[in-house]
Symmetry: C2
Subunit: 201 residues, 2 copies
């Protein structure tokens, strides 16, 4: 009954199992990083052997790629990055930060992997270089739209504001991870944005 004779494309595998593995991978990679996190640890969390896990993902690098893809899907479904309204993008960004406080695992994953991946030989290096490029680009466009609508404070450069909000967001996450009781990420983020805009945020 397993792997039925029906020749259907290539691998239907079991999507649920893959999903479980990805969730466990997030847990492990977020606390131990990619290089130190082990396949055995991940496999144990879903109750299978390490060899069994490698039936679903050919190797460790492929698993990492799938984790990053899953992470992006979730973030994008939360932030309306596309769409003409710049203000909506920025408030969506703040909402994402607020939401992130409820999923510490994903925050850890981002912080740990992005730092690890600054090494050019890291398998996710290109991914993160690329990701920051389009994040800053999209946010720049959002601030440009706000500027054109008079929603930006004078002397605020859209590109610098985009870099700044991205940097602030990353940094405040590290502080929050190190001491979750005394840091309110979303509140600090709004306080940071307020001097830059002329509208309620």
């Amino acid at each position: 009954m397993s792997t039925p004779g029906r020749v259907r494309g290539n691998y239907a595998k079991t999507p649920e199992r893959r999903r479980e593995i990805l969730e466990a991978s997030i847990e492990v990679f977020s606390t131990s990083g990619f290089r130190s996190g082990s396949l055995r640890d991940i496999a144990e969390r879903v109750g299978m052997s390490q060899a069994g896990l490698l039936h679903h993902f050919a190797n460790k690098g492929e698993l990492l790629a799938a984790v990053l893809r899953l992470r992006d899907d979730r973030a994008e479904e939360f932030v309306p990055i596309r769409g003409a309204d710049g203000l909506a993008t920025i408030t969506g960004f703040v909402n994402l930060v607020e939401h992130n406080a409820t999923v510490p695992g994903l925050v850890e994953l981002h912080c740990v992997l992005s730092a690890e991946a600054t090494d050019p030989s890291h398998p996710a290096h290109a991914y993160f270089v690329d990701r920051y490029h389009w994040v800053v680009r999209d946010l720049t466009r959002a601030f440009e739209d706000m500027r054109d609508k008079g929603q930006l404070a004078p002397d605020v450069d859209p590109a610098s504001a985009a870099r700044a909000i991205t940097a602030f967001s990353d940094g405040i996450q590290v502080q929050w991870l190190l001491d979750r009781t005394s840091v309110d990420m979303a509140e600090e983020m709004r306080r940071f944005l307020r001097p830059l805009v002329t509208v309620e945020i």
Copy 2:
């Protein structure tokens, strides 16, 4: 002639050798992190065996502690954190960021280790929790001093400004590490600070 009979305190060892090892450790830990960085790799860089290295530092954790201590010494010798003048502290902080652009190894070390150490079981976890506490505290005092002297823009909360400049600094370093050609850390930092203060920065 080695380890002479003179009983003098405990270990004079060879400070120069220790220094070499610490430099190599910074290189390795900054690119591979603490958990993935290996003693063998460090030892090779100073031209000795891994066992030889462990003559100078009892174990890997002790080596990490020494690296962090060295890092702090260098930063503190650069920023006048102590001293009544808040503005001097803040400009010193900007100068440190400017200086950091010339020592990418130390920037990497900070980014990688601070992210890795968000895990409570990491050997440097307590160190980083502690460090952020007093960094934010000292910067808060600096901004308070500026406020009292009318150097702070109205509606700027010193504590939030302290968190913000710290977060911004950490985040911009990650972006810089991922793409050093298109990010000017010090310039972005000044642009970030300008709306917060009433003086030239």
